[in-house]
Symmetry: C2
Subunit: 213 residues, 2 copies
Amino acid sequence: MKITKIPVATIMRMSVYSRFLTQLNHDGIEMASSSDIADGAGVTSAQVRKDLAYFGEFGIRGVGYNIKELNEHIRKILHLGDEWRLALVGIGSLGRALIMHKGFREHGFAVNCIFDNDPAKIGGFFEGVEVLPAEKIREAVSQKKADIGVICVPAAQAQNVADALVEGGIKAILNFASVNLVTPPSIHVRNVDLTVQLEVLTFQAGESIGRYG
Amino acid sequence: MKITKIPVATIMRMSVYSRFLTQLNHDGIEMASSSDIADGAGVTSAQVRKDLAYFGEFGIRGVGYNIKELNEHIRKILHLGDEWRLALVGIGSLGRALIMHKGFREHGFAVNCIFDNDPAKIGGFFEGVEVLPAEKIREAVSQKKADIGVICVPAAQAQNVADALVEGGIKAILNFASVNLVTPPSIHVRNVDLTVQLEVLTFQAGESIGRYG
DNA sequence: GACTGTGAAGCCATTCACAGCT
DNA sequence: AGCTGTGAATGGCTTCACAGTC
């Protein structure tokens, strides 16, 4: 395998391919061409082939890809063999939605520890995991070896939470708060800001229907 | 204003700038340089200036930007003057989290109609909005003039829901289901797949800690 | 004939660097 | 002196087009 830097966009698509391949496999289909996968993922066939080419040769010329085999390759590439342990901070409605989210456990993500500042919530249990106070973040994350922190607290508290998670030895952060987190370069952070997504749509929809001229 | 195609990445950053400017304004700060904004948004100052340049000249050379004024410009660019009406389909835990989400109403998004297939939920109320059966999507969306559809149903049902929303006259869709939706080109769709985001992190974290070699 | 894998070309976004203004 | 606005340069992702394989 060549040592090229792989675009994040490629990784995101790999994840989408994997989901589609799982579906096809579930439907009992064995082989698929790059065009089949492309249609399912909403991209071009050349894109599919280029993406896969970053990691190796998984297809058979003139034939296509073995779905099950390719999916296993992709899951290995994304490091989805093991279970990943999540530390969830902030068990408001969004936090609860995430912990209930079927997709998470199905894909090998297990919420390992939960934190909140609300005394009414501390000591409670969600899906069998006790809610601890925010002061315990560093200690518990370190002890329970959580891999990925999920931040679902208001923006004002997000940076403090992130700092505590990093001190606890977290490797990556999924941030739902609307702030730019400052973290050491070794920590991978992804921001999911729902308002940003909606505002992209208002911009695009506003353009096409000509709001405000 | 020149008629250039504006990158989606630029729009997403504009939304982030707006959030940061709102914060600064709230803190009583009046002026900011492109570097100040860049630091708050996690980008470079050249990027901030380039992004803004797509839409006009909003700053004063040698001085910087008036925060309140710039923010108003950005909000107009993103078409955030009016209220946008959302049609929420699927009132499971994620749907409920979204409808509770403070950021939405604060930013001018109002859930206008709610749909679900669960008889136990139909007829119930969330934040003052009645839950209607999925068969009513086309009719109600059209009647209530919802602008943006938010899909929070399982993947298997998402395409049907999208079709009904489109028939009802929706302009854009925010899709939380893990499938590629097929829609007319005039409909703007954004996919928010939480598993994709987590899998980007497992890839990156897995690389840096050398899982599986 | 069908489809993969890939160098080359094309395109788009970001960064640089500096002229222009206050 | 300080900072914006912008053409030019760079870098990176995507598309094209075709040789290679079944």
